[in-house]
Symmetry: C2
């Protein structure tokens, strides 16, 4: 089956408006924004597994779960409204109300997202003033307003044909530290003008998250605020997608592509990172074990520090593989580094160390593992561990 989509410069799908402003939560940068659909959109979300879910995360989850619909999402950076107790929950509700009132919507159609420092109350006067400023525009300022320690906005968009209609899927996200497994690893927002039911959208998002956002790691910590939401407003006019639609696979593939590209952009922009580390595992006992092994490699501080040092210290990759509980053929592990043999049959390959050092000087490091123990496959993405990671995180608060 052909599943064809084309990447395009970032743009909003039909029927979506947005804006971003400087409300005053940050010194100078944009710090509040929103997304709006001209008609209610099918909505789906995935949320952090951290037990201390932040107030906005819980509120958006509750709101989406009502009827899998949203028409707007309002967001702020600089303050996570997390570990803020009953007052924090009231503040999240108030932020939802303020946005709903300005947009003339029921609060049940408005999601809320916050990111930033944990444990401080939202300055609600600043939030209110920010919402006052927000307009319905075609600009992409919201993709900047959501950032914290990110070095740049992260966006991706594709177009494809569904049921003879041209549809667009556009995603943006933020996330640089506190990036790790088991959902949702950051804030991600995907909009599309395709028509699809909320429950089917939820199923697609949950499936695609397992192999995309849940397979990146920067530092092994899972935030209290992580969330990815998808809004599909149907303005493109296709017959609503079902699992038996001719173009269902096209949509699913395109959405997974968007989520995967966003995830990789987060890994590459990990706090202090200088290199994207992309690991592919083949020959695993199962796909799940392939993902587990890939994730273990990108998650190892020792591997990450060696890559920063441009040092082909392959023993650390073996250590990372060996500390999983994946089924292994202990003497049969092959690993290549940017296609150069690095480990063969669990031993040093014959490739000259100097040749292995060369690819490590680049900014994308591809590690391919062949476990020769099944047909399972997995991928994961991470970054190197650098002085700047320590610097950023030793001084973030003060």
């Amino acid at each position: 089956m052909e599943t064809k989509y084309t990447e395009i410069p970032f743009t909003w799908p039909q029927g979506f408006k947005a804006d971003g402003v400087h409300a005053g939560l940050r010194k100078e940068k944009l710090d509040m924004g929103w997304l709006y659909s001209e008609q209610p959109a099918a909505a789906a979300g995935v949320y952090t597994t951290n037990q201390f879910q932040a107030a906005p995360t819980k509120l958006t989850k509750q709101t989406i779960n009502l009827q899998h619909q949203l028409q707007a999402v309002v967001l702020n950076s600089a303050n996570a409204n997390s570990c803020t107790g009953a007052q924090g929950e009231q503040d999240a509700v108030q932020m939802q109300k303020l946005a709903a009132t300005k947009l003339g919507l029921s609060t049940d159609l408005v999601g809320v997202a916050s990111t930033g420092i944990i444990g401080e109350l939202l300055p609600m006067d600043v939030i209110a003033a920010g919402i006052d400023q927000l307009q319905l525009t075609d600009n992409t300022k919201v993709t900047e307003a959501v950032l914290t320690t990110d070095t740049h906005a992260k966006t991706v968009a594709v177009t494809c044909q569904i049921d003879g209609k041209k549809i667009t899927i556009s995603g943006f996200c933020k996330g640089s530290g506190m990036i790790h497994p088991n959902m949702a690893t950051m804030l991600g927002f995907v909009t599309t003008d395709a028509a699809i039911s909320g429950t089917l959208l939820q199923k697609l998002l949950s499936q695609a998250t397992d192999t995309t956002f849940n397979q990146i790691t920067v530092d092994g910590d899972t935030s209290t605020n992580d969330m990815v939401t998808v809004l599909a407003n149907g303005v493109a006019g296709n017959t609503p997608l079902t699992e038996t639609s001719a173009d269902y696979a096209t949509f699913a593939t395109a959405l997974t592509y968007i989520l995967g590209e966003l995830a990789k952009k987060i890994a590459a922009d990990g706090e202090g990172a200088t290199k994207l580390v992309a690991v592919t595992v083949n020959g695993a006992w199962s796909d799940l074990e392939g993902q587990q092994v890939a994730k273990a490699i990108v998650g190892s501080n020792l591997v990450k520090a060696a890559i920063y040092g441009e040092d082909p210290n392959w023993g650390r990759i073996m250590v990372a593989i060996g500390q999983t509980d994946a089924h292994l053929a202990l003497d049969a592990v092959d690993v290549t580094l940017n296609e150069l043999p690095m480990i063969q049959a669990s031993h040093a390959a014959t490739t000259d160390v100097s040749k292995l050092e060369a690819p490590l000087a680049g900014t994308v490091i591809n590690v391919a593992v062949e476990l020769h123990n099944g047909t399972g496959h997995g991928q994961a993405w991470g970054c190197d561990l650098t002085y700047d990671y320590v610097k950023i995180n030793a001084t973030y608060h003060s």
Copy 2:
């Protein structure tokens, strides 16, 4: 029951000899050593859970498991003899044979330990020359010969009365990076002149490891070579200890103290570390969950970087607690920092931030967590994450 022991300056228990030499594996520092008992000693061991167990680790495990006896252990630093295949296994056996021959022992009574770079074959001529040089002395050079990136030797000794006899328990260890859970997290060697059976010693060691070595972390990676062994030669002349002996608790408490102190010394000397982080958890659902929460806090890169930055960023401690699957009363978590309230009822405590910064300037950071959700208790030890950790690990190999 009184369980009294006294810490003493490091010394070998009665009937033990040792030595350390510079064989040439390292440029200048001591790099080979051994331990010897004048009579066969009861022996116990715990070993890495990494699936790629190094050749010497596997060989020592096999040897101890034969009859829970050893009379000597020979060791080297600078080369781990790990991921070295069939040749590596032959080399470990050869190292065992060379030491056994020189000491006039059966190979079944000789353990082997190696630590250092993974994936390079042992230079057996250097190993043989090193064993040639080793003597039976009272010096403590072996405690230095075992070191890699450690900044100093790690030793501890206690004396206590067992069955009216004075017995000594002495431990030393190495370990600075690749330090993490699930055994054995480094090389540790404990000797005692107490009389006790090998199987009971094994039981005691395995129990004590869970709350000591398995509760430290430096970087989340588990080496292929980790191992702790205990040798008890009975020269003190006590009636062999059983679980019903009057002084059994004294011995068990003293041995656990030795293991705990060694573990803490490793955490404090973690690669690049400037501070020891000691976490105590009370009020957990179970002891296991208490240990899990304590370990999650010392294992969080974000917490570790904040402590390096002397920044009381308590939200990161909440993040670490929340990403476990321990049972939590979400609104009831209290945390103190060197006894100053930092988090109360899952919110910021009223303590001035400036007061919280003061203890962070010290070299021992005590974090005490009260979960108010049971009677479980746990402890864990780690260190801060520093520029030097990255530097050491970005340049170790090349």
